[in-house]
Symmetry: C2
Amino acid sequence: MVRTGSARRPDERSADTRRALVEAALDVLRSEGFAGATARTIAGRAGCNQGLVFYHFGSVVDLLLAALDEVSARRRERYESALASVHRASELVELAARIFSEDLDSGDAAVLVEMIAGASSTPGLGAAVKARIDPWSEFAASALHSAFGDAPVLRAVEPAEVAHAVVALYLGLELLSHLDGDRGPALAVFDRALRLAPFMDLLVTKQHEELP
Amino acid sequence: MVRTGSARRPDERSADTRRALVEAALDVLRSEGFAGATARTIAGRAGCNQGLVFYHFGSVVDLLLAALDEVSARRRERYESALASVHRASELVELAARIFSEDLDSGDAAVLVEMIAGASSTPGLGAAVKARIDPWSEFAASALHSAFGDAPVLRAVEPAEVAHAVVALYLGLELLSHLDGDRGPALAVFDRALRLAPFMDLLVTKQHEELP
DNA sequence: GTCTATACTTGGATAGAC
DNA sequence: GTCTATCCAAGTATAGAC
């Protein structure tokens, strides 16, 4: 809760509190995980009474979903502006590697992972989280399409399939990085992708290869 | 708690109860996730008093770690016997694909993911889980070595790096499958790996390629 | 409309019964 | 040695104060 309270209009106060709770929820999801994301812990970090979680969001999971929406909005903005300058396959790989490492550092990836893994504990939460994750697989698929066009590689491997695998790799690397407290191995994978990127362009240009 | 109780020796009863609690813990981790794995829920599913969790294991997390050990033991046994019959790179890919889909079905993969994601919520748990996950990355790396030998591809990409990425992919595919309630996309990725497997052997045989 | 103090529920842990 | 009844802390949610 922002202490500028009484000097502001009621709806501004409300918006301030909501914002503070959402940011605190993200912070707690990052550092304590889904299991540690309780109304008391989140409100404590936001500097406000725990009852406000229920007044403003109805329940803890609804606050967590609002937090997930916030992360999704930020990511969408960042991804889309970055994708505009991508025209070749190698550039897409470079963009993906950069964005993945950013999400690892910011903790956005951790928020996604915690919400997905935590979803099993609350009936109905799975569907709500899925609805918020699906757009990213679709986004990845369309990015693949715009970068690889209708190159023969994309006839050998389904774009949706590659997108699924890439998203899975992204989430898995976050899981391991968080556990190790070390982004090194994940960054090494990104770095490897960067060095292999030029060969992607070859795959797109060279038509009719000997792939199955 | 097994109801054959009074007919058995005390240490057998104790072992029965411990086993029942470990199996129940695995079951709850699979269906309710880490956040839903409470002493009461687990003991309820084991059919015994919740206090027994603390008598036999000291705390809930220690029971969960015992459950993780159980899964690790089962997996080690299965993996190692299967790996014995692997001599070519393509066979390793086939083995990995089969084992991954088995772990997805059995819920073993879900247990790993929930424990990793849940680790952030309890101080010290991260290190304990890491110690139990690390062997699998090493195992994957040594399997890669035995299948690919010192082929040039493994000089272009570090084996430990590939192993890390493969484990990450494995965990990520589980996260998404569980969320979707649909193993289809993950199985499609495995299937794709199977169809690309023959080409792996080519990479091993053909020496000194034009890779960076 | 916004927030706090309080009620109620669930969970972790143990003292003591068997 | 094995287990249960009970205790206290932490969690969710709301009635009512401002």
